[in-house]
C-alpha cells in the first residue's frame, strides 16, 4: 500500500454509504458503499452497465442519489450538487467530455473555476498560461486559443482531465479517462496521478484495461449490477481470474467461445463458395473533419470489421456509405446484377435501392419507431416492401414478420407489442430483421451489440453470419475489439478518419489491433 498514513492510521477522506439510484425501472446502483483513503488510488471495475459511472457521477454531485449519504473529511456532503462537491475538494473527469465547443480551450479548462482579477473580470493571461501548463503536462503542443469543439476526441478528453486537475482536488475521480487516449498520454496521466497521490490526493480510477489498473491502483472494487461484489488489494499485481469471476466474466467468456464456433463454421461455408467477388469498393471517401479519405474493398459473403476508438470516423464512414451523410469527395463502386457501377451516396433511399442497408448506431433515435409495434417496425411499405397500387397486402407482411421473429428469436408476446417494451437485444434484432426480406448486397452495422446482453449478442451474430453465407457483404463497426476479432473474417483499423491497418488471418490479434488503434503501424 502506498497510502499516506498519519500516526499509523489510514485517513479516510470520503465515506459513502448505501448509495442507491434507480432510472425508471432499472436499478443502476443498489446500496453501494465506498471508503476512500488519502493518497490511495481505488480502481473501479465492472462490466458495462454495472454502475461505475452512476456511482462516480453521484460522488461528483452530477446526479442525485435516491438513498444514501456521502461524508467528506467527516462532514456530510450535500448530494446532487456539483458545486458542493467541488467545494469539498472533489473533481471529476467524465467519460464523455462536457466541453463548451464554442469557447477556446483555455477557457474550457477553467470553466466554472475562472481565475479573476477585481470585480470578477477574467485574468486571461494567468488563466491561459495555467491552462496551457496543465495541458502540456499531459501532451506537448497545444493551441489553447482554438475552439474546444475543433479538438479530436482524445484532446477533448485531455481537456476534461485538465479541468479536473485545475481544481487541485483532494479527491479526483477519473471515469474511463484512458479509453480515448494514446499510450504516451496514458503514461503522462499516470505520472500526474502519482504525483497527486504523493501529496495525499485520493483517486478513483475507472478503466477496462487491466494493465493500467495493475500499475496504478492500490485497491480495486468490483461492481456488478449496481452492487459492490468485492474488494481486492492490488499491490503491483491483480488477481485477474478472481476479478473476472466477480465481474461475471465466466459467462461472457463462454458466450464469446460460442460466437467463435459459429464464425469458424461460417468461414468454412464461405470458403466453399470459391473465388471472392468484390461487392463494394470505396475510393478516397471524405466527409467533414472526421472522415479523411477511406479506401476499402468488401467481398461478397465476407464479414469485414472496422475497429477504432470512438470519434475516429467509423460511424461517419458507415453513415456516408448509407447515404445519411453526403460525402465531400470519393466514390463508391457497387457490383450489382447489372454489372458494376459507380455512385455517389446522396440519400438513404438511393442506397437502399442500390442494396446498401444500414443498421444505425443509435437504434432508439435512428432505427426504431419505439411506440409502434414489432410488425410496424419490421415491415415498412416502400422501405423494405414494394408498395402495391391500391391497397396494403397484409398477408405477405404477416408471413415475413412471423418468419423474422422466429429466425432471429425475437422475444415478444405479440407482434403488435410496442417495440419500447422489448429489451435492448430484441430491439436490435428488430432493426436487423428489417433487412431480411430483400436483396441486401451490402449490410452496414454500426455497433450492433451496444447495450446488448451476451445471449442476444450470439443470436445477432448468428443472423449476420447467415446473411453472409447467403452472399451478403457485411461491414460492421463494434466498439468491442474482442468481439470483432471473434466474428470477422478481416479487420480494418481506423485512426483519425483513415484506415491505418488491414489485418487478416494470423495478423488478427489483440496487440496488432491495439497498436493500430492509437495510430501506430502494427509492428
Amino acid at each position: 500500500m502506498r497510502s499516506l498514513r498519519s500516526n499509523g492510521a489510514i485517513m479516510s477522506v470520503l465515506i459513502a454509504k448505501g448509495l442507491t439510484k434507480r432510472y425508471g425501472g432499472v436499478l443502476a446502483l443498489d446500496d453501494a458503499s465506498l471508503t476512500l483513503n488519502a493518497g490511495e488510488v481505488l480502481g473501479l471495475l465492472g462490466a458495462n452497465g454495472s454502475g461505475k459511472s452512476t456511482l462516480s457521477s453521484i460522488l461528483a454531485g452530477d446526479r442525485m442519489p435516491d438513498h444514501g449519504s456521502i461524508e467528506v473529511n467527516g462532514a456530510p456532503l450535500n448530494p446532487g450538487s456539483p458545486k458542493a462537491a467541488r467545494a469539498a475538494g472533489i473533481a471529476i473527469a467524465h467519460q464523455h467530455p462536457g466541453l463548451a465547443p464554442d469557447l477556446p480551450v483555455w477557457e474550457n479548462v477553467f470553466l466554472g473555476a475562472e481565475r479573476c482579477r477585481t470585480a470578477r473580470f477574467l485574468d486571461k493571461p494567468r488563466t491561459r498560461e495555467h491552462a496551457l501548463r496543465l495541458l502540456e503536462g499531459l501532451r506537448p503542443g497545444w493551441n489553447v486559443d482554438a475552439p474546444a469543439g475543433n479538438l479530436t476526441a482524445a484532446d477533448q478528453q485531455l481537456v476534461e482531465i485538465a479541468r479536473a486537475l485545475a481544481l487541485e482536488p483532494r479527491i479526483l475521480i477519473l471515469d474511463e479517462p484512458t479509453a480515448a487516449l494514446a499510450a504516451a498520454e496514458v503514461d503522462s496521466l499516470m505520472r500526474v496521478v502519482r504525483s497527486l497521490t504523493a501529496r495525499g490526493t485520493a483517486v478513483v480510477f475507472i478503466s477496462h484495461r487491466m494493465a493500467e489498473i495493475e500499475s496504478l491502483c492500490d485497491r480495486v472494487m468490483v461492481l456488478r449490477n449496481g452492487r459492490p461484489v468485492g474488494e481486492l488489494p492490488v499491490g503491483g499485481q491483480l488477481d485477474e481470474p478472481r476479478v473476472l469471476e466477480l465481474m461475471g466474466g465466466v459467462a461472457c467468456g463462454a458466450a464469446a467461445a460460442h460466437v467463435h464456433d459459429g464464425k469458424r463454421d461460417a468461414a468454412q461455408q464461405r470458403l466453399s463458395h470459391g473465388q471472392a467477388v468484390i461487392a463494394m469498393s470505396v475510393r478516397g471517401l471524405r466527409a467533414g473533419a472526421r472522415l479523411r479519405g477511406v479506401d476499402l474493398e468488401l467481398k461478397r459473403g465476407e464479414i469485414l470489421g472496422i475497429a477504432g476508438l470512438q470519434g475516429h470516423g467509423q460511424e461517419e464512414l458507415l453513415d456516408a456509405l448509407a447515404g445519411f451523410r453526403v460525402p465531400d469527395g470519393g466514390e463508391v463502386r457497387l457490383a450489382g446484377p447489372a454489372g458494376a457501377r459507380t455512385i455517389v451516396p446522396r440519400s438513404p433511399r438511393q442506397m437502399i435501392a442500390a442494396g446498401v442497408c444500414l443498421v444505425p448506431n443509435d437504434r432508439h433515435r435512428q432505427g426504431l419507431w419505439l411506440d409502434h409495434s414489432v410488425e410496424f417496425n419490421l415491415a415498412q411499405v416502400d422501405v423494405n416492401f414494394e408498395a402495391s397500387p391500391w391497397r396494403l397486402r397484409r398477408a405477405p407482411i404477416r408471413r415475413f414478420v412471423d418468419d423474422v421473429v422466429a429466425r432471429l428469436r425475437i422475444k415478444t408476446s405479440d407482434v403488435r407489442q410496442p417495440v419500447r417494451d422489448l429489451s435492448g437485444g430484441n430491439q436490435q434484432k428488430v432493426v436487423i430483421g428489417r433487412w431480411l426480406n430483400r436483396q441486401v448486397d451490402v449490410l452496414l452495422l454500426s455497433d450492433p451489440t451496444k447495450g446488448v446482453d451476451v445471449i442476444a449478442r450470439k443470436d445477432i451474430y448468428e443472423a449476420i453470419g447467415a446473411l453472409a453465407r447467403a452472399g451478403t457483404a457485411v461491414l460492421v463497426y463494434a466498439s468491442d475489439t474482442e468481439e470483432l476479432l471473434a466474428v470477422c473474417d478481416r479487420l480494418v483499423v481506423m485512426y483519425e478518419g483513415r484506415i491505418v491497418a488491414q489485418l487478416e488471418g494470423d495478423e488478427m490479434n489483440e496487440s496488432r489491433v491495439t497498436s493500430a488503434l492509437f495510430g501506430r503501424s502494427a509492428a
Binding site: 461528483a60 454531485g61 452530477d62 450538487s81 456539483p82 458545486k83 462537491a85 467541488r86 467545494a87 471529476i92 467524465h94 462536457g98 466541453l99 463548451a100 465547443p101 464554442d102 469557447l103 477556446p104 477557457e107 470553466l111 466554472g112 473555476a113 475562472e114 479573476c116 470585480a119 470578477r120 473580470f121 477574467l122 486571461k124 493571461p125 494567468r126 498560461e129 495555467h130 501548463r133 486559443d145 475552439p147 479541468r163 487541485e168 467533414g288
Partner: protein, 335 residues
C-alpha cells in the same frame, strides 16, 4: 495559486506580441460568423447611397440612426438571449409595455422625466426577471414561456393605455433628436449597449453566459448555477429592451400598446441573419447589429427604389429570405 503550481510558469508578460496575435485570431474566428451579414450590410448601404443621393449627409445619417436605434437595441436584446441558448418572444410586447409606462406615468403620478424613466426601467427589469425565472428556475420552454408572458406584457400595456395617447416626457424627444457635433444622440444608447456587452466579454458573467449557450449541461457539472446565469441573462437583455423602448418612445412621443409588437420576429430574423446559431453559444454581437441594420435599411431601399407601396412588404420579405440563404451558405462553409 499554490507555490508548487507556480513552478515553471513562464513570465506572464514574456510574449506580449504573440498574445495579441492569438487574441486577434480568436476574435477573427468569432467575427467570421458575422461576415455574411457584414457583406449584406455594405450592399444595402451602397444601394441606399445610390438610390438616395443625400443618404451620406449628416442630417440623413442622424435620421436613419434615429430609426435604426430601437431596431439595433431590440436585436441586441434578442442576441443576448439566443447566445445564451434561449429565445424571447416577448421583447416586442416589452417595448409596448415600457412605452405605455413612459406615456402613462407622467399623467397618472405626475412624475418628472427621470422618475418616469426609472419606472420604465423597473418595469423592463421586472419583466426580464420574470422571463428568466420561468426559463431558468421553472425550466419552462423559452418558446412557450415567453410567448405567454408576451401576451401578459401586451395586456399590461393595454391596461395602462387602452387607447393610444398619453405623452412621453418632452425632454426625451428633444434630447433624442439632438446632435453632438456630427454624432446623433440617437447613437448614444446603442453605443452604451455595445460598450456594456464588450466589457462583459471580459467578465466572468459574460463568458458564463456564452458558455451556458454552448453547453448548459457542462456548466451545471462544473458547479455553475445555470438558473442564475439565465435569470441574469434575461435581465441584461431587458436592459436593452428598455433602451429600445426609450428610443422608440422618444420618436413617437406618445403611448401605444401595439407599438412594439412587430419587433419580436424582426429581432429573431436579424439575429439569424447576423450568423448567431439559434442553438446558442455561437456567433457575435457584431453580426446581430449588422443584421439589425440590414433590416432597418431595407425599408429605405424599397421606398427609394420606387416600388409600389403594396409590394414593399413582399419585397422586404424576399430580401430577408435571400439574406438568410447567404447566412446559411456561410455557416455551412465554415462547418
Amino acid at each position: 495559486m499554490k507555490a508548487h503550481l507556480r513552478e515553471g510558469l513562464p513570465e506572464a508578460r514574456a510574449w506580449p506580441v504573440k498574445r495579441i496575435g492569438s487574441g486577434l485570431k480568436a476574435t477573427s474566428a468569432r467575427a467570421a460568423s458575422a461576415l455574411p451579414a457584414l457583406v449584406m450590410l455594405l450592399a444595402v448601404i451602397v444601394c441606399n447611397a445610390w438610390l438616395q443621393p443625400d443618404f451620406l449627409t449628416a442630417d440623413s445619417l442622424a435620421s436613419n440612426m434615429q430609426n435604426a436605434a430601437p431596431v439595433i437595441l431590440i436585436c441586441m436584446a434578442q442576441a443576448v438571449v439566443v447566445l445564451m441558448g434561449e429565445l424571447d418572444l416577448s421583447v416586442g410586447a416589452g417595448i409596448s409595455l415600457v412605452n405605455c409606462v413612459l406615456a402613462a406615468t407622467p399623467g397618472l403620478m405626475g412624475w418628472g422625466t427621470g422618475a418616469t424613466c426609472l419606472a420604465g426601467l423597473a418595469a423592463a427589469l421586472l419583466a426580464g426577471a420574470c422571463n428568466g425565472f420561468l426559463v431558468g428556475y421553472a425550466r419552462q420552454s423559452a418558446l412557450i414561456a415567453t410567448f405567454a408572458t408576451g401576451a401578459v406584457w401586451f395586456g399590461c400595456a393595454l391596461l395602462l393605455m387602452p387607447q393610444p395617447g398619453g405623452t412621453v416626457p418632452d425632454a426625451l424627444g428633444e434630447w433624442f433628436a439632438a446632435r453632438i457635433g456630427v454624432i446623433p444622440v440617437a447613437a448614444l444608447p446603442v453605443l452604451a449597449a455595445v460598450v456594456i456587452w464588450a466589457v462583459l466579454q471580459r467578465h466572468r458573467f459574460g463568458r458564463r453566459l456564452i458558455a451556458t449557450g454552448s453547453n448548459a449541461d457542462a456548466m451545471f457539472k462544473v458547479g455553475v448555477d445555470v438558473r442564475l446565469v439565465k435569470l441574469l441573462g434575461y435581465m441584461l437583455a431587458w436592459l436593452f429592451v428598455f433602451a429600445a423602448a426609450v428610443c422608440l418612445s422618444a420618436q413617437t412621443a406618445s403611448g401605444d400598446a401595439r407599438l412594439g409588437l412587430s419587433y419580436t420576429l424582426n429581432s429573431v430574423a436579424a439575429v439569424v441573419i447576423g450568423g448567431i446559431s439559434l442553438t446558442g453559444g455561437r456567433g457575435s454581437m457584431l453580426g446581430a447589429i449588422c443584421g439589425a441594420l440590414v433590416l432597418a435599411l431595407i425599408g429605405n431601399v424599397v421606398y427609394f427604389a420606387g416600388i409600389p407601396s403594396n409590394y414593399q412588404e413582399v419585397f422586404k420579405g424576399a430580401v430577408i429570405v435571400i439574406a438568410l440563404g447567404f447566412t446559411f451558405v456561410g455557416a455551412k462553409k465554415r462547418a
